[in-house]
């Protein structure tokens, strides 16, 4: 069967190689054209939007809450909800926070099969619930078997599931995953409208705002320390940018966080070198694996030169609160922990 090819033109091979190279460049370039085009690791401590984040603009629309059948506008459309839903399924942790604020106990939560990921106070408030699986792939059959009357979904992560979820129960899709503090607060308001508990939600949010304002009052306005929140894994360290939840909470308190980013990215992958260059004066780190890359960094001389390390301002924090929590309670816990660590005397 072998076909003989006695004559090979060198030019032809070169052309092939060229074409093949072009293919590779094309594959790379396709990925490069769209999406975020770069954000600086090293950035000044611009504080845009920080103040606004502390006071969410969205206010509960009481007129809507009063109606028995009310259209709820959300990220993926408008869903009409009748009565006060009691059997609610939450596909993100921040929705659990919102439901607890509204006085509703979710019956199903996408908890990745790991109940520990729900902040303890919330877990206690919720009591018994049914796990509906991974947040990436919640189990539709389990959700259905719970006979929910409302599903709270993430508008980005669950977009492909939205139609299916609507078939099970009225679904409201809101920002949670990769949302900043302000968006999460807006989501809370909409959850209040969706479950028909605007008064409770408004009261909870007012209480929350007051708690945040009290903490903010303890913070000297002239504090300009550069704060970094990073998550560390076995083979990586990611710093959260000012698009992520925890940094926007801190900025809302008038604190300064780095890195900022011009792009859309909520996290920025760090090397020891970029961490040294970023030079955080306060470093909060959540550990996601038992052994982490940052453990290895700690033996290095350079690590000891990072201001936060030199001044003993490096703290290990709970990733379930700082990174996955994303709600009013998470915000308060983050703010309190940060305030305690930054200003030990007060």
């Amino acid at each position: 069967m072998s076909r003989p090819f006695p004559l090979r033109s060198p030019r032809r091979s070169a052309a092939t190689l060229g074409a093949a190279l072009a293919l590779a460049v094309l594959t790379a370039a396709c990925g490069g054209t769209a999406g975020s085009t770069g954000s600086a690791v090293k950035d000044d401590t611009a504080k845009g939007g920080g103040e606004a984040a502390a006071q969410p603009k969205a206010e509960a629309n009481d007129a809507i809450c009063g109606q028995n059948s009310r259209p709820i506008k959300h990220d993926l459309g408008t869903t009409t909800i009748t009565g006060k839903p009691k059997r609610v399924v939450a596909l993100e942790f921040s929705f659990v926070d919102a439901l607890v604020n509204a006085g509703v106990k979710p019956i199903g939560i996408a908890d990745d099969g790991k109940p520990d990921r729900i902040i303890k106070q919330l877990r206690d408030a919720v009591g018994d619930y049914t796990s509906v699986g991974l947040r990436q792939s919640p189990n539709l059959q389990v959700i259905k078997s719970l006979k929910p009357d409302l599903i709270l979904a993430d508008s980005q992560r669950d977009a492909a599931l939205y139609k299916q979820l609507q078939k099970i129960a009225p679904t409201v899709a809101l920002g949670s995953n990769a949302a900043d503090y302000e968006r999460v607060m807006q989501s809370e308001v909409v959850v209040g409208e969706a479950v028909g508990e605007c008064d409770k939600m408004t009261a909870a949010l007012d209480k929350h705002k007051k708690a945040m304002a009290d903490l903010k009052a303890k913070i000297p306005a002239d504090d300009k320390r550069r704060i970094v929140f990073a998550i560390t894994y076995d083979k990586g360290v990611s710093a959260q940018t000012q698009r992520a939840f925890a940094p926007t909470v801190l900025r809302g308190l008038g604190l300064t966080t780095v890195p900022s980013t011009k792009g859309q990215d909520a996290t920025l992958s760090m090397t020891l070198e970029s961490m040294v260059t970023l030079a955080p004066e306060v470093l909060f780190m959540a550990r996601n694996t038992p052994k982490t890359l940052s453990d290895q960094w700690q033996s290095s001389q350079l690590w000891k030169q990072i201001p936060s390390v030199k001044n003993n301002k490096t703290y290990v924090v709970d990733g379930n609160v700082w990174s996955k929590g994303r709600g009013t309670l998470a915000a308060e816990l983050i703010a309190r922990e940060a305030t305690e660590k930054l200003f030990p005397a007060s």
Partner: protein
Amino acid sequence: MNATTAAMRPSLAGDAGQGRGPGIVVAAVAVVGVALLTVGILWALSIGSEQISWSSVVHSWFSADSPADQIVRTIRLPRVLLAALVGANLAVSGAVMQAITANPIASPDIMGVNSGAAMVVVAAITIVPTMAGAPSILLAFGGAAAAGITVMVLAGMGTGKVSPVRLALAGVTASTLLVSLTQVLVIFHENDTQSVLFWLVGGVNFAQWHDIGTVLPWTAAGLLVALALAKSLNILALGEDMARGLGQHVERTRAFGAAVVIVLCGASVAVAGPIAFIGLIAPHITRKLVGSNYLRVLPVSMLVGAVLTVYADIGSRYVNPPFEVPTGVVTALVGAPIFIYLARRQKVTR
């Protein structure tokens, strides 16, 4: 032009037969290679979060006073050295593999050796978290050995000459299985991109002196054994029957060769993940340059592998700045077209 054809059946003299003295060619290649490597290392040392001038880089050789010196010494130097070491490891194991399988497209990635090592390490980290760390290099050896030997046996090694396509298909199949398993481990473990990509693609982005210490003894041992094997590999390249006729212990050569491959690849994957294609393309480039005598091929492909990997790592800083993409993405983007080119070749595809 038919370099590969010539390469895969060298004469005993091992001469490339280009009319020039082989010594001169090798010397020239060595000089150029070392020069490229030196420039690459200096370049790599100068770039990062902050540009550091070449004079400061040189300065850091003598002092460790300034922060720049510190960065060069504790972060950039281990990184570039690890890139060079891993490149050398992979290149030599590719060359040895091509020799013992008599197969021009044999290489650690195509035969699933790298993905085997990575899968076992990831499984250990995710399933038994406390096991991560110290023994990961041994786990990598185990994974590399299991995958590599399985593929070789299954592809029909030892039953006569194995066609390249059969070996490639067997290897790709094994890789597919291993990568699927790695992916599901990662999905359930919920990890961040950097960790995921490290185990799927490989890179030296997080290199530390500690890693150099881990890999260096194995590299040294592996390379020495490989060089000691060079003459046997030359004879083996004449064909199994001929080698036997000349009194070669073919099986012993193969066994030692396989051990070298496992140690070199396992050590590389343990510290730098499964970096693609260096093991495939470095030996081919080398044969084009210096012919097919393994006494020359092995040391020169070390150099070529090191140069390729160091420059790929430099490239990884420029692909998507200010982010660093894992080194393995760059080697894959560059290496895959060369693989396509090789796959088209007459000798390989006959």
